[in-house]
Every structure is written in structure tokens, then in C-alpha cells.
Symmetry: C2
Subunit: 158 residues, 2 copies
Amino acid sequence: MTDDPSARDLRRGIEAMFFAYRGFTQDPDRILHERGYGRAHHRALHFVDRSPGTTVNNLLAILGVTKQSLNRVLRALIEDGLVESRVGEKDKRERHLWLTGDGRALQLELNEVQSARVRAAFASAGPEAVAGFQTVLEQMMDEELHDHFRRLSDLPGA
Amino acid sequence: MTDDPSARDLRRGIEAMFFAYRGFTQDPDRILHERGYGRAHHRALHFVDRSPGTTVNNLLAILGVTKQSLNRVLRALIEDGLVESRVGEKDKRERHLWLTGDGRALQLELNEVQSARVRAAFASAGPEAVAGFQTVLEQMMDEELHDHFRRLSDLPGA
DNA sequence: CTTGGAATGTCAACAAGGCTGACGTATTAT
DNA sequence: ATAATACGTCAGCCTTGTTGACATTCCAAG
């Protein structure tokens, strides 16, 4: 609120985001490609894993894509037995989503390679840098997405 | 090198990258869409602006896409008069790239909206957080991309 | 000096994964 | 009853990645 970053700092931050995001997605992308999946499948697996039993609508809000786009991805994951879809008990219009054993296995594998890189970066940068990293990223989110982020952060689990 | 981030920290970092990147690209994306361009056009404009007279090959190394993919984007920008391509004097196989006045104008506009968000995030997070943000992102890059990043950082200019 | 290989860039065609629009079907809410 | 909600699906479009084939240019070995 009180500081005045230089144009040079801003440019470096922008370029760092671009290059770092490439590294961030690279390792999972390789595994996904071997299995005939893409980044969209990874995102679906990740957030279903994070909120087991979530509905399609909730997933749409988090992912920020159209239902047609999400549906294409979910259909593939369900057909391949990685995701299970059950009609809601209370509201039968809703479909609730869970990972199967196979789905959890793939999600774990993807998470492992992605975490490995982040872990290395965090360890080498140190805890204070990590705190700053986290703060800046949160400030960069849209408010609505920041809400989703906080909700996920408050969830129980590892 | 010495710390041991928790699985929870890693998960939060991963999700923060995902949500923050959405915010990061959102404002330029809107302008680009109005003009019938996409993110790829933004990247080309940005890095041509950063290294005026650069060759297609150099751009390929930075962007990490195939030359066919880049070529489609460059062709559109050249046809629309935003980028100028000149055959190399020394090596006539090479094409050297510059932004035209119109190209620089669009790049400035895109940079302005993107910088505005980063500036706000930086200002509200404070300079120490920004330093940590930068450190972690650099550690997340692939070595080759980190080299490109450093080279760009050392360039003269605003 | 010629010729073959490497480097550079272009064109064509295809796939993933976004998008909009329209429609069908349960189910729930008013 | 009627309207709204949640979800699925079909059709078609766009951007942006991919591979394959090809033309041009440069350079170095013979």
C-alpha cells in the first residue's frame, strides 16, 4: 500500500511468472502426455482430490471454464475409471465426484513430480522467501479466486 | 538447501500458482481478445520489444514452442503491421524482428494493464515479500530458461 | 568450384482444449 | 402448474500447440 516498485521490478516479476510457470507445469505435463491426457485433466484430478464429493458446478467455479469444456475432460476420466460420478442423494440433479483408486494413484504421481520441484525451490529460497512468494501470489489473484483459494487452504487433510 | 517445507505448504504454493496465474493473464487477455489476438501474440510482442532486432530462432528458444507455431503468430502480427521483419544482412537466412509504432503501442497497452495488477500486488505485499517472490520463482525455472531470464534482466532499458 | 549437409524459415494438416449457442432431461422451488 | 436449477450433449468455431514436407541460404569438404 505504501511502496512504489520500479518499472524494472515489474518487468522482472512479469517475466519471472512466465518462465516459472513453464517449469511449474513441465514435469506433470510429461506424465500426462504419456497417458494421452492434458493439463485440463490434471486440474480436474487435483481439485476432485482436494474436495472429494464435490459437484460439477463447484468444480466449474474453481476452474473457470465452461461446462462443455469440463465435461469433455470428466467424461474421459470417468470412462477410464479414474473418476467416479454419483447422483446426489439430497439433490438428485447434482453429480458428486470422487477419485477411484487408479485416479488417486495418478493424482499422487502428478503431485509428486510437481511437488518435488516446488519443494526444491522452497528449500533453496528459504522460509522467508516462501512467505513472500505466497503473499504476492495471493495479492495477484482475483477476489473471487482468492476466496476459492482460502476455502481450499482451510480444508483438512495433509 | 536446508529447510523442509510441509506437504501443506507445497499444496498451498501449487494452488497459489494456479490461481495467481489466472489473475496474471486475465487483463491482457481481455484486450487481446477484442483485437482478435491471443496470449501467444502477447508473448511475441513482449519479447520482440525486449530484444529489438532479435531473430526468429532466438525467440523460439525463449518461448519454447515450435517454429511453425511461432510463425503463425508472427505472420499475423506482420500482416497487421505490428511487427516488421527484415532479412538479415550478414546471414540472409535469418529474419530480424522489430515492433512498429502500432506494435509498440499495443505492447505498451498490454504491459500497462498487466503491470497495474503486479504493481498493486507488489505494493500491498511489500518489498521483502517481493524479493522472496522473485527468488522462489527463479528457483522454479528450468536452468535453460533461468539463463534466458538472467540475460533479459541484464538488458538495458526501463 | 561444386556439392552436400546444416540452419532458417514457410506452408499444410491435425489435435487438444478453450469458447458460444441450442437443446433435452431430471429435479427442485415457487 | 410453472419456472428455475443442475447437468449432459451435439454442433461448430478459434487459438495454439504438434509433425511432416519443402524452399532457401550458408558453409565447409572434397
